[in-house]
Symmetry: C2
Subunit: 230 residues, 2 copies
């Protein structure tokens, strides 16, 4: 079973046609999770989440009542806790509901301390086992994570570029079958090797490394973002 | 002399009233840099940059001609180079123009491989000396960087929250005079400790650490981002 979680990030960064995509996903049996305010945002899309996780302290009384009346599984988190609401959602999705994959929507845009919390959470030892099953998706980016080993990365349809971001110490990183290849790269510090591209006639590239956690960021330009503010 | 650089990130993420702010900054003697497409975006705001850096390969012929005719100092970068255009701008600003500080606008939003490249660049040994003089600013976030030592962080006006993101191995991190304090925290992996707050009657908090590079992300919610897409 696949899962999608909607977080509280600004909806302007959500993938286009999110409502249609969520409806189609649910029809195919995808498990839908609301993380804190994301639970209300799902309700507002007329999509009651299968699971709601959060402390909900930013919701008004009537908003929380709405969640309480409609959602069958609500897990309340404690403010000032060790795990964030998103980390708790990850834990419940994989450990209680045994989902095969989890896509996070609303994890980007807005407050960057939140985005970085989500980006770095898979570095935590308790979540490393799920790293390759988690994606962070927004309108311009599709982020997946890789643990050490040899990997063939597939192009996401309509994505032009990819970046390889090492999130901690990386050893012996190799990139091949790409526009810019790399051999035996090591770095104790994170780095984001951006603006790489799939070869014109290829829909995969190869990446391998011996130590570290890597984020593969497939991305694209959106012309419509330009010329809005002048 | 202060400096501001405009990068190619989507203008929807730029600080509000950017044109007025740039005009006022220039009147006070601030040095204005265009990084690649950012040079054209400055021209379109009727603000010719003092320095333009980039390979400009995404510009049309007539757009590049416009830059060429108006900007007095243009530094062309070579595609497939080791340093990004933003890193080159940092180098020219601090080493050639001896600026005291550099604020990066247009470094966020859009493609996240680009944002992470900008976030992680100050980890590079050649740029660590400038870390505390660089800020990444957008509509909701004000990111500054700290090298090891004892620091008093001042609240940026109208910002509610702050996160402390360790960008590499951190040792003995302490946070005090804040809503959530921390003592003797060490971690080999990056982590973003988000949603902390200044104390109600305080405009500073204290942070100290012995090893690592830290990003302080002051942030705020923007209600207007909600309810745009339904």
């Amino acid at each position: 079973m696949k899962a999608i979680a909607l977080l509280g990030g600004p909806n302007i960064s959500w993938p286009i046609d999110i409502k249609d995509k969520l409806i189609k996903a649910r029809e195919k049996g995808t498990f839908i999770i609301g993380v804190d305010r994301g639970s209300l945002l799902l309700e507002e899309l007329n999509l009651t989440p299968d699971l709601a996780v959060g402390d909900f302290d930013s919701l008004k009384k009537e908003e929380l009542l709405r969640i309480n009346q409609s959602v069958s599984d609500i897990r309340y988190s404690v403010p000032e806790k060790d795990l964030t609401d998103t980390e708790l959602a990850l834990h419940y999705a994989f450990d209680d509901y045994c989902v095969d994959s989890l896509s996070l929507i609303g994890a980007t845009g807005g407050r960057l301390d939140h985005f970085l919390t989500n980006l770095f959470m898979l570095l935590k030892p308790e979540f490393r086992q799920y790293a390759e099953k988690v994606q962070i998706i927004d309108q311009q980016n599709y982020i997946s994570f890789l643990n050490p080993g040899k990997h063939v990365v597939k192009r996401i349809e309509n994505y032009t570029y990819f970046g390889v971001a090492t999130l901690n110490e990386v050893q012996e990183l190799n990139i091949s079958n790409a526009k810019y290849n790399l051999a035996g790269y090591s770095n104790t510090n994170p780095v984001s090797l951006s603006s790489n591209e799939f070869l014109p006639d290829q829909d995969t590239f190869n990446v391998s490394f011996k130590k570290g956690l890597i984020a593969i960021i497939q991305s694209r330009d959106l012309e419509r973002f330009q010329n809005i503010q002048k």
